[in-house]
Structures are given as structure tokens and as C-alpha cells.
Amino acid sequence: MNTAKTIELAYYALLREQRGLSSEKRATSAMTARELYLELKEEFGFNLQMEDLKVAINGDFADNDMPIHDGDTVVFIPPVTGG
């Protein structure tokens, strides 16, 4: 089974600074948002844990274990501190 897909990633705040980018396309074989984050965390040394983050897929909140599909836009959301 070929699970290769291309995902659009956008980064904000702490993750944007740690990645050094606001957005990128990425080829991945991760099945879920959680798997994708673990891949990114390993590669870029993000120090936030998955359980500290929320996930948005295609512009709305989604479950961490939601499957991701080719062409999806995925955003990992650090703990919010607005207001």
C-alpha cells in the first residue's frame, strides 16, 4: 500500500521560530496528524510534546489521530496565549 502524500504545513509562533519557516510542503508517509508531528519533532527538534498541541486540518480543529490525506493543510497549534 502506497501511503506517500504531500502535505502543506503552516507554522506559527514558537513552532515557526523553531522551524525557521512559516510554511512548507512536505512529502510524508505519516497516516495521522500525530504521526506527522512525531516525524517533524524528530527532524526539527521541536520541544513541545504532541499532547501540548492542537491540530487543525484544512482550516479547522481536528483530532490528533485524524487520518491525513494528500493535499491537506496541517497546522500544529501551540498552547494559545492571546487576550
Binding site: 514558537l14 501551540p78 498552547p79 494559545v80 496565549t81 487576550g83
Partner: protein, 155 residues
């Protein structure tokens, strides 16, 4: 109902102008201002960053929840992004209602939920040259203890 991210300074008069309504007897507003101290550190400036698309969507949901939960007439919220100086307004919430009890409760609900749920982040710049994204996560560097549901350099 309207939740909006602003790149330019929040103008109270503009924010409040849609509220005129002869059935409203009470209007409650909250303003969050950049203050000079947080957790004993001297704050010089703040920077807010938003995931604007989702922030406005989630903010709008909060305003609709407020209208469903409380007997109010109108509720709006504006949140500033970019670099702010001491005393600048970071967030504005306004609620009108026939009766003041509902206006107070709904205004409080909106600001509490905005702080809890809307994807906006704050970076503090300190007098000693340090800066950092606030990150209320246990064990993480910038991790202010909870107060009123999260103490930060606004209220």
C-alpha cells in the same frame, strides 16, 4: 456577531459603533492592555501572532455560544496582532443586552474562551533584552502559573 483580527490599532469607537440598539439597556466591555510586568519580569513590548483564518472562525463560534447561553443582543470582539507597546489595547470585547447581568456574564464568557481557545500567541520582550513566546505548558521555559485562567502580561 463578529470576531475580527486587526493589524492596526483597535479603535474603540469603531468597534462599538455597530451596537446602537434601542432595546439594549446595558453594555459591558472588556479591554486587555499591555502591562509592564508579568511574573516579576519587566515587559517592554509584546508581539501577537494569529492563525487568522482559524482565529476568526473559532472567535465567531465563541460569540455565537455567548448569544446562545445568555440573553444578549450583540457581542463583538477584536484582537490586535503585531508589535504592541505598553498601554496598547490587545483585545476588546463588547456585549449589549437588555439587562446588565447577562451583559456582564456574556462579556466574561467571551474573553475567557478567547484566551482559552483562539489560536493567537504572545511573545514578550523584556527589559533585560530577553524575549520569548509565552507557553503555559508544565515544565516549559515560559510557563507562567495559572491565575484567572492564565496570567499573562495582559489581564
Amino acid at each position: 456577531m463578529m470576531f475580527k483580527i486587526f493589524v492596526n490599532p483597535l479603535e474603540k469607537m469603531d468597534l462599538q459603533s455597530p451596537f446602537s440598539n434601542s432595546e439594549a439597556g446595558g453594555f459591558v466591555s472588556f479591554e486587555g492592555w499591555v502591562r509592564s510586568e508579568n511574573e516579576g519580569r519587566h515587559v517592554m513590548a509584546l508581539e501577537y501572532e494569529a492563525y487568522a483564518e482559524l482565529a476568526e472562525k473559532e472567535g465567531e463560534r465563541i460569540l455565537i455560544e455567548a448569544r446562545d447561553k445568555f440573553d444578549i443582543i450583540e457581542a463583538r470582539c477584536g484582537h490586535r496582532v503585531g508589535r504592541l507597546q505598553l498601554g496598547d489595547m490587545a483585545v476588546w470585547v463588547g456585549v449589549s443586552a437588555a439587562h446588565r447581568n447577562e451583559a456582564f456574564q456574556a462579556c466574561r464568557y467571551v474573553i475567557d474562551e478567547v484566551k482559552r481557545r483562539v489560536p493567537i500567541w504572545k511573545k514578550e520582550y523584556y527589559k533585560n533584552g530577553d524575549s520569548g513566546w509565552l507557553c503555559p505548558v508544565e515544565g516549559y521555559a515560559h510557563s507562567p502559573p495559572e491565575r484567572d485562567g492564565g496570567s499573562t502580561s495582559t489581564a
